[in-house]
């Protein structure tokens, strides 16, 4: 157990104890202790769910209310903070008597990619945030936000050199700090303006990872690798949006501009022992400085006119332009030292300049006739993409109909589009999409929703002979009785995806990529309270019968909580995951997790 868990628990208990003595506090805390038994491939399980045995906070809520105080409402929420959970969250909110609110947030998310050795990533992403909003100005609301994101830990990454792959241990040291000021105006034409400034810094360090060497049969050894890299990105961002109009006309204009700049200093030294050093050593000493300047502008406009009581015309445009100008300057020094100490040095300059620029634009005009129950929309759309020398123009049509009764609604959308010039060979030249959705509320508390999606895309044999066929559908039935604390739901989804793409393999030989997915996912969930007992559970079955990589999974969990004396709560839980690949068994696993819960509620 790391020290953070007992520390967090201690703090929480102290807070609860302090809160218990203050009559104005309410809330509670629930702590879980979990055990876990695992069969099969342990790393495969952790690559899907990084859940371990041990302590964790299910939830912690402390809330103080007082109409007389300087801060009438103070709330603290937290969850996680234990080795049994891969995420942690905490949030502290204060609402002052003045029109001022303050929020502090923290969350942590572990990265747990351990897919195939040596590609391991044991790092965590932590985010801190502070937000103060003042709503007391007659002209609008002012919001100040501070955000910090850090990515730390270690990752084992491959290094390709001397026609071999060597493992590198990378100590991650990445951080992003951002400050933003936002003003939301009041008035007949309200607007929002936000100016933010973000600074990202990467100072990763590398070293050979002999423990995970995969090139052990290779006589050339990776002896040393180091860097003092320092990558810094400055990213100011301006956002402006405004909406205006009334019941006959309405418009929205929004835009965003980010001129980002990167400055990268990447000195890297890598030394190999040729024939385990018997033939001497060779070092690659790179000293490069890179820079990038990226201007990104995005904007959209949306207008609507009420032409007649039942007729509405809408016009929307979207625009996005990104231009990145990069430069790399430096030199590579190749230093060869033979066993006698004789040194030979070769120097090669490194220089590169490139520009990546593209523009996307789209326009859509739509006419809607809205009846009491039936609404029909028809429209045309056009889009343009400018990428290098390729200018692509697409056109399409849309048709949509929806019917809404007192207890039933249904909508259907169809869209067709085509173009003539390719940016990427896998772009589908012709696309047809249809989407159906229906729902009903047969009785109070009941909800039945379903949707289906059909998509066809293709491009000619001279490009990639692409064929993309997607059929998916899902149904969700939910029952949430209004007169009791209960919820039941069943969700069934199917996804049938078949893609076929012609490949041009190394040596210009032909090949084909076929991806076939036939996935059924079914989940049943229930929550029910009866007197002092609350029962909840869910069961999920996922089955892929596609020919590419069929899998079967079962997941289930159940939990019983009982309210005890003195505002205490006790509970037990059990969880089960099983994963079986049909074409191999090396990644299969079965995991059973169980534990107890202890909770305490303030009045």
């Amino acid at each position: 157990m790391d020290l953070k868990t007992p520390l967090a628990i201690t703090v929480a208990v102290c807070l609860c104890a302090a809160a218990a003595n203050a009559q104005q506090w309410n809330g509670g805390a629930t702590v879980a202790v979990a055990g876990q038994s695992l069969s099969g491939n342990e790393e495969s399980f952790y690559s899907q769910r990084d859940i371990h045995r041990g302590f964790t906070f299910e939830d912690l809520l402390l809330q103080r209310k007082s109409e007389d105080a300087f801060a009438p409402l103070i709330t603290f929420r937290a969850s996680g903070f234990g080795q049994a959970a891969e995420t942690s969250r905490a949030r502290f909110d204060v609402r002052f008597r003045a029109p001022l609110t303050l929020s502090l947030t923290y969350d942590r998310r572990d990265s747990f990619f351990a897919l195939e050795n040596p590609l391991r990533d044991e790092s965590k992403i932590e985010r801190w945030g502070a937000r103060a909003a003042y709503d007391g100005l007659s002209s609008g609301k002012l919001t100040l936000e501070l955000r910090r994101l850090s990515h730390r830990g270690s990752a084992i990454t491959p290094l390709f050199a001397l026609n071999e792959v060597y493992p590198l241990l990378t100590d991650l040291n990445q951080r992003s700090d951002e400050v933003s000021v936002r003003f939301d105006s009041r008035g007949p034409v309200p607007f929002s303006f936000e100016q933010s400034f973000a600074r990202q810094q990467r100072r990763d360090r590398i070293s050979p990872d002999a423990a995970n060497a995969i090139g052990v049969t290779d006589p050339d050894l990776l002896l040393a690798s180091s860097t003092a890299r320092n990558d810094v990105q400055n990213m100011p961002t301006s956002r402006l949006s405004t909406s205006f109009g009334g019941s006959q006309f309405e418009g929205v204009v929004a835009m965003r501009y980010t001129p980002a700049k990167l400055s990268a200093t990447v000195p890297v030294t890598t030394t190999f022992g040729i024939d385990r050093g018997n033939a001497g050593n060779i070092s690659f000493i790179d000293s490069v400085t890179g820079s990038a300047s990226r201007d990104a502008f995005a904007g959209n406009t949306r207008f609507a006119w009420r032409l007649a009581p039942r007729w509405i015309a809408r016009a929307t445009t979207d625009y996005r332009n990104t231009s990145t100008d990069t430069t790399l300057l430096g030199q590579r020094l190749i230093q060869m030292i033979n066993p006698n100490g004789a040194t030979l040095e070769l120097t090669a300059p490194l220089s590169n300049h490139s520009i990546l620029s593209f523009t996307d634009a789209s326009e859509r005009v739509e006419l809607e006739r809205a009846g009491d129950r039936l609404t029909i929309r028809a429209g045309v759309l056009a889009s343009q993409r400018y990428f290098g020398d390729t200018h692509r123009h697409s056109t399409g049509e849309t048709l949509s109909a929806s019917w809404r009764g007192s207890r039933f609604f249904t909508t259907a959308d169809a869209e067709h589009g085509s173009f003539e010039h390719y940016v990427f060979r896998t772009d589908p030249q012709k696309v047809n999409r249809a989407h159906f959705r229906a729902g009903t509320v047969p009785r109070p508390g009941w909800s039945v929703q379903g949707e289906g999606r059909f998509e066809r895309g293709e491009n000619p044999a001279g490009v990639a002979n692409l064929s993309h066929r997607l059929n998916s559908g899902s149904v969700d039935v939910t029952f949430a009785p209004r007169d009791r604390d209960a919820l039941f739901s069943v969700n069934v989804g199917t996804t049938n995806l078949h893609t076929r793409t012609d490949l041009v393999l190394p040596g210009n030989s032909a090949g084909t990529s076929i991806y076939d997915l036939s996935l059924l996912t079914a989940t049943a969930h229930g929550e029910y309270s009866i007197q002092r007992v609350r029962i909840s559970g869910s069961l999920t079955r996922a089955r892929d019968n596609g020919s590419t990589w069929p899998v079967r999974t079962w997941n289930g969990d159940a939990r019983v909580m009982v309210r005890g004396p003195s505002r205490s709560e006790f509970g037990v839980f059990g969880e089960r995951w099983s994963y079986n690949e049909q074409l191999a068994s090396s990644a299969d696993f079965g995991v059973t997790r169980y534990g107890v819960l202890l909770g305490w509620r303030l009045p």
């Binding site: 019941s247 990268a264 609604f409 949707e451 739901s489 990589w549």
Partner: protein, 244 residues
């Protein structure tokens, strides 16, 4: 006169007047910004206190009741909240119990395909539950200022994955042009790393036609493209994306 009387009645009615019969709602209100007079949203008529019935109160508030305190959500004829207005989705459709915080997977009942996608073996989870939808999607689309579409999907991803979005000295063009979803399924996938293909090799080869013949695909190390091209999201020192 009747209208004036109703308005006056609503103004003087306090939450405490409703508590004796609606204890559950009153309890849920505690500490909430909605801890205001019930009549603000429910349009309680004077007769309701004498003879409680569904006819003398607006049980499910109209959207106008919400807009009076949340004016930035107001929209007359534009699809304000993404496509929600066009689908006649009202405030109460999601905030159906009004008084309590909505469930994390509240969106899933109308978006069952997305709910199902989170049940796949590899998914964007927050612990054992799906990642909250509003981590990436601005569902209310307040004044259209922060839509996912305007930000671009990659920008939404950079909220956590800051190191992959760039700018880089050497970019991976599809990521910049079409976004992370070119290769990744954002909600969930049956493939590791939320990839759109079971094999990284085929995922790369579908776009990269005619690569050098030195790539002998009969050898395992050449079939795992990212074993060498490790900086697949972009590099600051190597044009072949061999190193970050």
């Amino acid at each position: 006169m009747i209208v004036l009387a109703s308005a006056l009645f609503a103004a003087v009615l306090s939450a405490g007047d409703c508590t004796p019969c609606h204890e559950d709602a009153a309890k849920a209100f505690e500490g909430s910004p909605h801890a205001t007079a019930c009549a603000t949203c429910h349009d309680v008529q004077p007769a309701h206190l004498e003879s409680p019935s569904k006819e003398t109160v607006t049980r499910i508030p109209k959207d106008d009741a919400c807009i009076s305190c949340h004016p930035s959500q107001k929209s007359h004829i534009l699809p304000a909240a993404v496509a929600h207005d066009a689908q006649r989705v009202s405030c109460a459709s999601c905030h159906f119990k009004g008084h309590v915080v909505t469930r994390a997977d509240n969106c899933g009942s109308c978006h069952p395909s997305q709910r199902a996608a989170f049940q796949r073996p590899y998914a964007h989870r927050d612990g054992r539950a799906p990642l909250a939808c509003n981590e990436c999607h601005r569902v209310h689309d307040e004044r259209h200022s922060d839509r996912l579409g305007l930000m671009s999907v990659s920008s939404a991803c950079s909220e956590c994955h800051m190191d992959v979005v760039g700018p880089h000295v050497f970019e991976h063009a599809p990521q910049q042009v079409s976004g992370c979803s070119t290769c990744h399924e954002s909600h969930g996938s049956v493939n590791p790393r939320l990839l759109k293909r079971a094999s990284v090799t085929t995922l790369c080869l579908e776009c990269h036609a005619g690569i050098s013949a030195t790539h002998d695909l009969t050898q395992a190390k050449y079939r795992a493209c990212v074993s060498c091209h490790v900086a697949i999201h972009g590099s600051n020192r190597d044009a072949n994306l061999f190193d970050r």
